[in-house]
């Protein structure tokens, strides 16, 4: 019995030993595998350290020199008198070097308290950087205050891994002044990076995204400097080996006048108008005011606009993203009568004394075309027709010259083509011809349509800049000048790198006396008691101008309705374009108020305010003179 048990135990042990022996044999195989891997690693070490050692040694030597780029301050943007519109200031950002940080929970907890942000915000920034190497800084908070900066600098030992980075940011001294013209910066995207000079731009750089910041990128952007330093622990520089100072960007001096621009924008904003204001020196083409309302908030775009903001801009019925100065196209309305008048005079279809009768309407074919004044103007000549904006006169005149001749003169005055001003995405507007309609609509031109064209409705489309250029051309006696917004590019020491001189696009020769006649009519618009823009009259200054109404829809259902009963989006646009002084014009101003209905009451006051500021000195002198005259005429010469 006992023997049997012993035998069984022995058998079990034998079987166990056998099983263990199998495993032991496998362990020998494993030992071989371990040795194979060991030799593989040793072979790799031989390759790296002995075979390619020298190569890696030189790589390591070069590695000790860290080349750090130093951002160049971006050029300033100033107005024509050197008033600073956009400059730079340092922004202090809190960054985390994850590699150097201990006790990150604790540091972040305390940091959140110092920065007055929620700790989850900080974690979010860190999470977004997950996957990038740990020595690359993560920006935790931009643009901290001086107090916070001082606190962090004093307590830097308690915030391991936290550093302060200094980055220049744009400062807008006049808020969103001329926001569409100035534009904004953003982080360079892949497409821009691919097109850019790789020596000048790297991944995180800012680049102009809109306006002159974009168009003048090459001038505004300076040249980055670089510091070659031997770096030591924690990335601190040990020894400066070489230093190239950054070269500041160049200053862009605009032709704009901030005072005038402020008046224009202020008045548009005050009444929540949308539209555009343009003012130009008629003898040089230099733009004094280029305002598009509503403005955009440039600060919203700094560092990338939020989707929420962007969508609200897109959905805004007043289209703030459009620079209406050159991108808004509207029927020029009665301002177009300058074209029709010039075409009529130049082709001999009328003379200054030609008279048309206006009974308040004009029958053409089986359709009746109304004059805005339903009671009629009676017998009118050209001067009166312009002054009182008689539609019937221009229906008949338009019919005499025909659409193609109208188009020819419209083009000569600069309509239907881009003015070439240095602003983005300029529209060319539209000046229709017979051929154009055939091509566009595969339809013959209807003679009745010429009547609409003659008063600037129908297919006609023009930008405020074009209407302003046309006005300036009429004012200066036939010189079509390139509108310019940049006066000069200057170095930081003030020396001029590039100066922009007035540029004549073309001159309308032999039309001087016709233009003078049109100017007479335009002078009447403001100064005649029957004129349509009496509100723009200024004592001591002869203003000449033209109102205009751009029809938005021709829906019968809104005809005869009172203004306030027409839905906003169906109301007509209101033009007013003018120049002064009428005797020797210096400035031309064009105002378009979208859905403003009446140029005389809605648009003219803005132009008037700009004129009052522009001619401030002259008007003051006039007032003083008048005062003195009054004193002189007091009987008995007794001074009051």
């Amino acid at each position: 019995m006992v023997k049997k048990i012993f035998k069984e135990i022995e058998e079990i042990q034998e079987r166990d030993d056998e099983a263990l022996d199998i495993l032991k044999r496998r362990l020998v195989v494993v030992a071989v595998i371990v040795m194979i891997f060991t030799s593989l690693i040793v072979a790799r070490l031989w390759y790296l350290q002995v075979n390619s050692g020298e190569e890696y040694k030189s790589l390591a030597f070069n590695n000790r020199v860290r080349i750090r780029q130093v951002a160049a301050p971006r050029g300033h943007i100033v107005d024509r008198n050197g008033k600073e519109i956009v400059t730079n200031r340092p922004s202090f950002n809190v960054v985390l070097i994850r590699e150097d940080s201990h006790d990150i929970d604790d540091v972040l907890k305390r940091l959140a308290g110092v920065l007055h942000v929620d700790i989850s915000e900080l974690w979010k920034r860190i999470r977004e950087a997950a996957g990038t190497p740990l020595y690359i800084p993560v920006v935790l908070k931009e643009d901290i205050t001086w107090d916070t900066l001082a606190f962090l600098e004093n307590h830097n030992q308690e915030f391991s891994g936290i550093r302060i980075e200094v980055v220049p940011v744009r400062v807008f001294h006049y808020g969103d002044l001329a926001s569409h013209i100035i534009g904004y910066l953003g982080i360079i995207n892949k497409k821009e990076l691919a097109e850019a000079d790789p020596e000048k731009y790297t991944g995180e750089d800012l680049i102009g995204k809109m306006g002159l910041e974009k168009l003048r990128e090459n001038d505004l952007r300076g040249k980055k400097g670089s510091n070659s330093t031997e770096v030591n622990a924690r990335g601190f520089e040990q020894k400066m080996l070489k230093s190239d100072d950054p070269i500041s960007g160049k200053e862009i001096r605009l032709t704009l006048d901030v005072d005038l621009q402020q008046i224009a924008e202020g008045m548009m904003d005050q009444e929540e108008k949308s539209g555009a204001v343009v003012a130009m020196e008629v003898k040089t083409g230099r733009v004094l005011v280029a305002a598009s309302a509503p403005k955009i908030h440039l600060d919203d775009f700094t560092g990338g606009i939020s989707t929420e903001n962007w969508n609200s801009l897109l959905e805004n019925p007043k289209h703030p993203l459009i620079n209406k100065v050159v991108q808004g196209t509207y029927p020029p309305g009665s301002t177009y009568k300058m074209v029709t008048a010039l075409a009529g005079l130049a082709t001999g279809a009328i003379t200054e004394s030609t008279v048309f009768n206006c009974p308040g309407h004009y029958q053409f074919g089986n359709r009746v075309y109304m004059c805005w004044k339903h009671s009629g103007h009676g017998a009118v000549d050209l001067r009166r027709a312009i002054t009182e904006s008689c539609d019937v006169y221009f229906y008949q005149l338009g019919q005499r010259v025909g659409v193609d001749v109208l188009a020819e003169y419209a083009h000569r005055l600069g309509l239907g083509e881009k003015t070439g001003v240095e602003l983005e995405h300029e529209k060319s507007g539209l000046v229709p011809t017979r051929q154009w309609k055939l091509k566009q609509y595969k339809q013959k031109w209807q003679d009745g349509e010429t009547l609409s064209i003659a008063i600037g409705q129908g297919f006609d489309l023009a930008t405020p800049m074009q209407v302003n250029m046309m006005t300036a051309t009429v004012a200066n006696g036939g010189k079509v000048l390139l509108p310019q917004v940049v006066d000069s590019v200057r170095d930081t020491d003030g020396s001029i790198v590039e100066q922009f001189h007035p540029k004549l696009i073309r001159e309308l020769t032999g039309l001087g006396r016709y233009l003078a006649l049109i100017r007479e009519g335009l002078t009447g618009v403001v100064n005649n008691d029957h004129g349509t823009a009496k509100g723009a009259r200024i004592e001591g200054l002869t203003v000449a101008g033209k109102t205009g109404t751009a029809q938005v829809v021709k829906l019968a259902q809104y005809k005869g309705l009172k203004d306030e009963n027409i839905p906003y989006k169906y109301r007509d646009h209101a033009w007013f374009t003018c120049f002064a002084p009428a005797e020797d014009p210096e400035i031309a101003i064009t105002v378009l108020v979208e859905h403003g209905l009446h140029g005389g009451s809605e648009s003219a006051p803005i132009a008037k305010a700009i004129l009052q500021k522009y001619f401030e000195a002259r008007l003051q002198a006039f007032a003083k003179e008048k005062e003195e005259k009054k004193i002189k005429t007091v009987p008995g010469g007794v001074r009051p």
């Binding site: 166990d16 002995v50 590695n63 929970d105 770096v231």
Partner: protein, 373 residues
């Protein structure tokens, strides 16, 4: 139970201890250089390492004081404890923004995924010694081991820590293949692994993890990003040449071009400062220790001891191979430390405890299983 037999001292493996001390010593010197100058705040790492070594060797002594067979009755409760710790770490990490994998114990940050590796070795060794099948395990037989591996695997994957999770897979495969599977089981398992792998690549891997793997195969595309670490590591090791730049004189490490130079990339600093000769000496000692460990397995008195010793050696071996291959530019950056050499409390303690168990197996190689009863 804790009575220590006198014969145990006679059987104490001084060679294993010497090898262990040599490696820890080299690691300590290298750590001092890699973290020099010490940071102006907090406890310097070389001092922390002293404490960690103290704790580690105390654990080592504790783990040789009882017969390793006791582990057979303790392994499931311990396994459960590790799983709980993993869950706790996951939720703590989640509340802290998902950027941490540890539990703060005050004096150190415990990464439960490190002891989880050792725990898996012990658990699988227990299972395979309890369920002995000599002519190969079928798929049904390894259902429980698969389950035991998958639970911590998923928890670590969620942290997310791809490298450590894959390490658990490597341990499972090493141990399961060792105890022999049926041929059909191999076929089915490899088919399943292919499907899971494809699914993982498409659905589970985070973009940065994919990017690391992609960068590895094409490092030039991203020299300042993920390729940077590998490139800098190769420069460090390569520039060490035959005899190295000398202790404390490595520029790559001291000028901070090497990221994570005292943790995952610790060996780069060694290679730079001691050159090919120093590296080979280190590797010779290190891999001799592993071979010695396999010898412990061969001499083990029973199946459990053998599986334990083998598993612990494999745990150290695969981590070392993966870490070194990463440092030398053979593998992508996966975040696996070089056991005993890379700084990291959890990893160091886990490895030293594993070594304690290895010593335990060694010391009791002559006892018979029945002697315990």
């Amino acid at each position: 139970m804790f009575r220590i037999d006198r014969r145990l001292f006679a059987n104490f493996d001084w060679v294993l201890l010497l090898l262990l001390l040599l490696i820890c010593g080299m690691a300590y010197f290298s750590l001092y250089s890699a973290t020099y100058p010490p940071k102006p705040w907090g406890m310097p790492l070389y001092l922390k390492q002293c404490y960690l070594l103290l704790i580690g060797f105390s654990g080592f002594l504790f783990l040789i004081s009882f017969d390793y067979q006791e582990l057979l009755s303790w392994n499931y409760p311990m396994y459960g404890l590790i799983i709980i710790l993993l869950v706790v770490a996951f939720y703590m990490g989640k509340s802290a923004g998902g950027a941490q994998r540890w539990i703060n114990l005050g004096f150190m940050k415990l990464q439960p995924s490190e002891p989880a590796k050792l725990m898996l070795v012990i658990t699988l060794a227990s299972y395979y010694s309890r369920n002995e099948i000599l002519d190969g395990y079928s798929l049904k037989d390894i259902g429980i081991p698969i389950l035991l591996t998958i639970v911590p695997f998923v928890l670590i994957m969620l942290q997310p820590d791809l490298g450590t999770a894959l390490m658990l897979g490597v341990i499972f495969v090493s141990m399961t293949v060792f105890v022999k599977l049926r041929l059909s089981t191999y076929a089915i398992l490899s088919g399943m692994a292919a499907i899971v792998g494809a699914f993982g690549w498409i659905r589970v891997l985070k973009p940065y993890q994919k990017q690391r793997i992609e960068t590895f195969f094409n490092p030039e595309t991203d020299p300042m990003g993920h390729g940077y670490q590998i490139l800098q590591s190769k420069i460090a090791v390569g520039s060490g040449e035959m005899f190295g730049k000398g202790y404390m004189k490595g520029t790559q490490g001291h000028l901070h071009f090497l990221p994570e130079r005292h943790t995952d990339f610790a060996f780069s600093v060694w290679g730079e400062e001691w050159g090919f000769v120093g590296s080979v000496i280190f590797l010779a000692i290190y891999f001799f220790m592993l071979l010695w460990g396999l010898n412990v397995a061969i001499s083990a008195r029973d199946r459990f001891g053998m599986l334990l010793a083998y598993g612990i050696v494999m745990l150290v071996f695969w981590q070392a191979v993966i870490n070194l291959m990463m440092i030398l530019g053979f593998l992508p950056v996966v975040g696996i430390p070089l056991p005993l050499f890379s700084y990291g409390g959890s990893s160091l303690l886990t490895t030293l405890f594993g070594m304690g168990i290895l010593m335990n197996v060694r010391m009791r190689r002559f006892q018979t299983s029945s002697a315990k009863e």
